[in-house]
């Protein structure tokens, strides 16, 4: 009788222990799943970051666990800068409802980004209605000039298609101005401690922006500099434009309009 009770008690204790162990095992399995998911998410984030900055820079950031100094990540490179801006954006922004304007702009940015990405460019930043993109700043690209001009032509074609959609909706058509220049600069993580981005800085980017401004002067949509033209595939159809002085540059800038 007593033996039976003892066996029963032992079985109850064993069952309670087994239950507790099972609970612990389930909890551990749940935590492990959460940890796996978090790790996977982090890895995916790292891969996503690699598309915004050279993988080496991302790896250094992850390994250090801190923000590296600009000296640690910046390097001198020759890259091509493409600066694009919407013509007549200010007037359009005053006419359209904010929600409609946002939708039109988002559609524009998406199409332009796709065209740049398809030709191995990297969109660095959106500045109001402007787009700054680089070719050859993240990965070496000996064909960066041809790529940049092909991207600009793809942007032109994409905008034409987008304008058909906008006009059908009774919205104003958009017009584009693109300036492209190739030259040396400093590529690396640029910004403040709280917010950094991988960028390409120097006079090359400034000149691309100035050349973009000249598209209004010459009444064309795509302009390239002499430095870029010298590296360009002769199959592109270019028209020389009269030299123009631009802010911050002593000599008049020679540019070429890209026809096709």
């Amino acid at each position: 009788m007593i033996r039976g009770a003892l066996v029963g008690a032992a079985l109850i204790v064993l069952a309670a222990l087994a239950g507790a162990l099972y609970q612990q095992w389930r909890r551990a399995a749940g935590l492990r799943l959460q940890l796996d998911a978090a790790t996977l998410e982090l890895q995916q984030l790292q891969v996503a970051c690699s598309r915004l900055a050279p993988a080496g820079v991302v790896q250094r950031l992850v390994a250090d666990g801190t923000t590296p100094s600009a000296e640690a990540t910046a390097e001198r490179k020759v890259a091509t800068a493409l600066f694009a801006d919407l013509v007549g954006y200010t007037a359009m922004s005053e006419r359209l409802e904010p929600a409609v304007l946002a939708r039109v702009l988002n559609g524009y940015f998406q199409r332009m980004s796709d065209a740049i990405h398809q030709h191995r460019g990297h969109v660095s930043t959106f500045l109001g209605d402007g787009i700054l993109a680089y070719f050859g700043a993240i990965q070496p690209n000996p064909w960066q000039c041809d790529d940049a001009v092909r991207a600009a032509l793809a942007m032109r074609a994409a905008l034409e298609a987008y304008n058909v959609e906008l006009t059908a909706e009774g919205l104003p058509a958009l017009a584009l101005g693109v300036g492209i220049h190739r030259g040396p600069g400093l590529a690396g993580l640029i910004g403040a401690r709280e917010r950094m981005e991988y960028g390409f800085v120097g006079s090359t980017v400034n000149l691309a922006a100035r050349v973009q401004g000249l598209t209004r002067v010459h009444q064309v949509d795509i302009l390239v500099t002499e430095a870029l033209r010298a590296e360009l595939d002769p199959h592109f159809v270019l028209t020389p434009m009269p030299p123009e002085t631009v802010k911050g540059i002593v000599e008049a800038v020679v540019t070429y309009a890209v026809k096709g």
Partner: protein, 363 residues
């Protein structure tokens, strides 16, 4: 089991596998187990055989430890986002007794994994070479030397990295289905056979023996083959290159152009001289070569070359799904063997360019 490459988009394979019993027997004899992926490459025999012959596992290495080689292959496949090779190396590590937890720990935090410094240096080298290529070769050599890796072992690590780059491109660009390989460790019958697989793997992997020096090799890449004199790698590389040049699917000129474009895209200082000399012998003027390398086109190119020259450039830095869609589009314009051979040549060019910068220019 979720892996770090689950998010990598992978398109359906545009090629049908083609059974080739002679190739299957050849691969089974060397690898001691079937390799179903080879059937996709069967229309181009040198390419399919190169995937077996150049695999460092089967008697090509003299010094490098196989565990180090496996880990190098794992991280290089991760770098190149090759779902197929990544799953294959993971399955190999698992079959050899490494626990899933340890594999995951290595993947997640290589810098802090419980591995010897020399192994960590080899892994870091694999990563940097896949990312930067020839531009980072000098720094990569110095880092390995600092970790105490000797010249011969360094050459073998470079070979393992370069050949993983080749294999990754071959499987990624051709979009070889990765799911069967990814599912392998989850299947009950595979799990039951794990000890047997381990035994077979251990029996099939062996270190090679020093070979007599003076293996003849024809350019281009003869300097690269000579750099491995005394190692079984020289003979394997020499045979593969000879078979590649002898293959009648694409012209020699077209293959040289693919090599030239990849070498230019990687800013390789080692390969261009031999390649440009080869193009000259094929009757292509220096001006045409310059135009092709500067603008990826020239009026003198034939229709196949005009398709494959820009394609070669896309194999240097790529996202798998994007290049797989590109291959699907090319499949409509080229015969299957032509496209497969172009993938093989471009993949090998990518591997050899990285390798050349490491071993030919070494002081």
């Amino acid at each position: 089991m979720a892996t770090a490459l689950d998010h990598v988009a992978w398109e359906p394979c545009p090629f049908e596998p083609q059974r080739d019993r002679a190739l299957e027997t050849y691969a089974r004899r060397k690898q001691r187990m079937p390799n179903p992926a080879l059937a996709y490459f069967a229309p181009v025999p040198w390419f399919a055989r190169a995937l077996v012959d150049l695999h460092p596992e089967y008697g090509l290495l003299l010094r490098l430890d196989y565990e180090v080689m496996d880990l190098v292959q794992l991280v290089v496949s991760q770098e190149n986002s090759c779902r197929f090779c990544y799953a294959a190396v993971r399955a190999m590590l698992w079959a050899q007794g490494m626990s899933r937890a340890r594999i995951e720990r290595i993947e997640q935090d290589l810098a802090r994994a419980d591995l010897p410094p020399r192994t960590l240096a080899a892994i870091a080298f694999g990563r940097s070479q896949s990312r930067t290529g020839p531009a980072g070769a000098a720094a990569a050599r110095e880092a390995l030397a600092r970790a105490g890796v000797g010249a011969e072992e360094m050459r073998e690590i470079a070979f393992a990295v370069a050949l993983t780059d080749f294999s990754n491109r071959a499987h990624s660009i051709a979009a070889i289905p990765s799911r069967p390989m990814e599912r392998m460790p989850e299947q009950l019958h595979v799990r039951l056979m794990r000890p047997l697989m381990n035994l077979m793997l251990r029996r099939s992997r062996f270190h090679g023996q020093r070979t007599p020096e003076g293996a003849a090799s024809v350019p281009p890449h003869s300097r690269l083959v000579r750099a491995y004199e005394g190692s079984p790698i020289a003979a394997a590389l020499g045979r593969t290159l000879e078979a590649l040049w002898a293959s009648p699917v694409l012209t020699r000129r077209c293959k040289l152009l693919i090599f030239a474009v990849v070498s230019r895209g990687l800013s390789c200082q080692t390969c261009p001289h031999e390649i440009v000399s080869g193009l000259r012998r094929e009757g292509i003027s220096d001006a045409t070569v310059a135009q092709v390398l500067t603008h990826l086109d020239a009026p003198e190119l034939d229709p196949v070359e005009r398709l494959l020259v820009p394609f070669a450039r896309e194999t240097i830095w790529y996202e798998p799904a994007t290049i797989q869609r590109r291959v699907r589009a090319l499949r409509e314009q080229l015969a299957k063997p032509q496209l497969l051979e172009a993938i093989g040549v471009a993949s090998l060019a990518n591997g050899l360019c990285r390798l050349g910068a490491m071993v030919v220019d070494a002081p």
